[in-house]
Symmetry: C2
Subunit: 451 residues, 2 copies
């Protein structure tokens, strides 16, 4: 008999047995995905127990693999000493992020349990907005005064190899009187004589970023430059941290995920089913309730034309089809616009250009879809006029839908409104109104024709 | 007067003036986004001219910034010699990707113009599927036999510094009789005596991947391990390439983008408005035509109940609202499922767990939305029964929609069908059918009640 053992079943057993050594080994084997899955399936008591069974450095590592909101909760449920031990094992930017997220009192209580200079560092980092270089940088880097020799650096690295284990040693940084001078690659150290002063081999025109630079600028920077990381300077030219390319890439991916979830109406850009039910319901409702009002507004068009509808009751079958299909065509255009905006291939002011490119496709697709639905109506009711009405309405509304779908995201972006959340509802409301109006108006004309 | 100069206007002028030096400077200043935007706005003749005005290495660099499909087209429009000069300046994995994408005859013509050992390398790379380690790896790496000394390596690096400029020198690799032995960090070379043999300092238990490993496994690997790159071995333990973390991250981001575009009905996961109109129309239609058939199928429910509809014509106003709102609620659930699947927080077989988590939210939201629409109907028509009919139908259909929306992606994934493209249409068709059925059945019951 084939029994599929789930990772969390094993984890639950190990937690119940309080087998710390086995747990450590087991988590080491699992992929990040499986760790995330396993943690999501154990209850809060088991989570609390698990954290106490893990060494602080292993707990910190595990928290990198699980969704942010879960990690924050796990830390909040610990006492200050336990939380401090784990946070002490984290990288500087994560330390700042977690402590900034928590309740101020809890954060202060934890920081009391941590080393003074580490806390000082964290306080500096917390000052920065999370979407700037300062908020994304790490402070684990090595810098040396330019008067030092290569030999000095080599001895430092040799004697403090444990201490420097966790530091990325791709680049070293060189300062003079505390101000940033330049960058040193390991390769350059290797190829230099022992007595060479750093001032002789340092790369002085190294690219840097200011601590105030935004995420968008950083994303552009790493698109353009193939570096592993870039030094961050403050207003007084001091080296305050390093932004790693991989962290910017992760941030970029998070932004893209959030955007996608928002286009589907997940406000806040993230929902995990382990969140409290009322929170999930409330957040979804915040978008749905706006939608239902817009829907009722659009459907009121139908209410105005009730007479026509009574006369051509068959039309009631086609109104939802016209509404849905126009929405589909429009959303395809929205998706392409959001994509092209993010690639930089179009700019928000280029609404005319986009409109022209969409109309051409809209006309073709409108004709095809209009013919399909018109044929369907004709075959069903044996009435060519009904076919012309619904076919014509859908054809024209398809052109309207792609025109709006293509341009609304650009317009919203120009107005500095987030296009991901708002484009869909605006699009479907307006295309619904047009679609209903066209279908019912044409039907009215048809009634006059046929008497 | 404020005039906004677009980057492509400047570029067009420079191309017309054939000012190669200025063009090079200008492109160097632009962000990758602006380059993509500028290239998208010049016509094919200007593109061809631009490429001839650029040095091959600058042309290759430019192509990294523009969308893939545009770069391929630009290469195809060149003669073999020109294309070969540019491709020769590219990284090995890009070389293989471009040549594999082109028409075989064109590719062969280009390869004749390139250096023999470079072509040999490319042919090896082309053999691999693009979604395996072999298809994603680069062959620019440095390896040395373990019998060599540190001194030898240092001298190699010193004398061939130009040649090794483009090689990432984070790690060096060590082999023995052609087989992979281990990894060497620059730091370890730096801290070793000149006469030390590589065999003494090499890290022998280095993690590696096989050339056949899939993208998914590589994504998991770099989630778990914080490396800059990982060596790739073939079946006979030879070192054949290196997979860089940043390339896997880029691939991961591309996959996420494709998934999002597919949920919006962009088949093939990419559309640029610079693509030919007929191609864009055809690809959008391939999804829309399936949708319209599904829509007609769902709307036929209404056709069956035409009698009821004639009696309660006001219902025709609410059918599109019920359809759209159920779709919205359902799509929220779909988005969360796709997200949780990608995070690893749920597995495809967990449909029951997801259903329970969705039903709870669905009941709350269904009651709220049903009350809203019911109140709207009551206020409009002064008929409490109509309010109960549409309110009840929407409430129940919301629960159905979130149940389906949450579970359909898991079901499709279990069946090895891509959930991104198919979830939406299946969801909206089934929820429409239920929604229409519920509303019209309740209305029929209402008619019997009120006579």
């Amino acid at each position: 008999m084939h029994v599929q053992i789930r990772p969390w079943e094993i984890l639950k057993k190990l937690i119940a047995l309080e087998d710390a050594a086995e747990i450590k080994l087991y988590l080491h084997e699992l992929t990040s995905e499986n760790i995330a899955g396993a943690i999501s399936h154990i209850d809060n008591d088991e989570k609390a127990k698990l954290v106490t069974l893990l060494q602080p450095e292993d707990a910190a590592e595990m928290m990198e693999d699980i969704p942010w909101v879960q990690a924050v909760k796990m830390l909040e449920d610990l006492n200050a000493k336990e939380a401090a031990a784990i946070i002490a094992e984290m990288r500087s930017d994560d330390q700042a992020d977690y402590l900034a997220e928590m309740d101020q009192t809890d954060a202060e209580a934890i920081m009391i349990e941590m080393e003074v200079d580490e806390v000082e560092n964290i306080r500096k980092l917390i000052q920065y907005d999370s979407d700037t270089a300062g908020g994304l940088m790490i402070t684990e880097f090595l810098s040396f005064d330019e008067d030092n020799t290569v030999d000095f650096v080599v001895n430092e690295l040799r004697h403090y190899s444990d201490k420097y284990e966790q530091y990325s040693l791709q680049y070293l940084y060189v300062t003079s009187d505390g101000k940033f001078v330049g960058v040193l690659q390991m390769k350059d150290l290797l190829l230099s004589k022992a007595t060479t002063r750093l001032s002789e081999v340092v790369l002085r025109d190294a690219l840097i970023v200011k601590d105030s630079e935004s995420v968008t600028e950083l994303i552009s920077f790493f698109d353009k430059h193939d570096f592993y990381g870039v030094p961050v300077l403050n207003n007084t030219e001091e080296l305050v941290g390093v932004v790693l390319r991989k962290d910017i890439r992760e941030t970029e991916a998070e932004i893209a995920n959030i955007e996608h979830l928002e286009t589907q109406g997940i406000v806040g850009g993230e929902e995990l089913r382990t969140m409290p039910i009322l929170l999930r319901a409330r957040r979804r409702l915040s978008w749905l309730s706006v939608n239902i009002l817009l829907n009722m507004m659009a459907a009121s068009i139908i209410a105005i034309y009730q007479e026509t509808l009574t006369a051509v009751i068959a039309l009631a079958v086609f109104l939802p089809i016209i509404s849905d299909m126009s929405g589909c065509s429009g959303n395809q255009a929205v998706a392409v616009s959001l994509r092209e905006l993010s690639l930089g291939v179009i700019r928000p002011f280029e609404m005319l250009r986009v409109w022209i490119q969409e109309v051409s496709v809209g006309i073709i697709n409108g004709i095809v879809l209009g013919t399909l639905i018109g044929a369907g109506a004709w075959l069903w009711q044996g009435n060519i006029y009904l076919g012309l009405v619904v076919g014509g309405a859908l054809a024209i509304n398809t052109v309207i839908a792609v025109s709006l779908g293509g341009t609304i995201p650009l317009f919203l972006k120009k107005m500095n409104v987030d296009p991901a959340l708002a484009s869909g509802p605006i699009l479907t409301t307006v295309t619904d109104m047009f679609g209903f109006f066209l279908a019912l108006t044409f039907a009215g004309m048809m009634l006059k024709q046929t008497g």
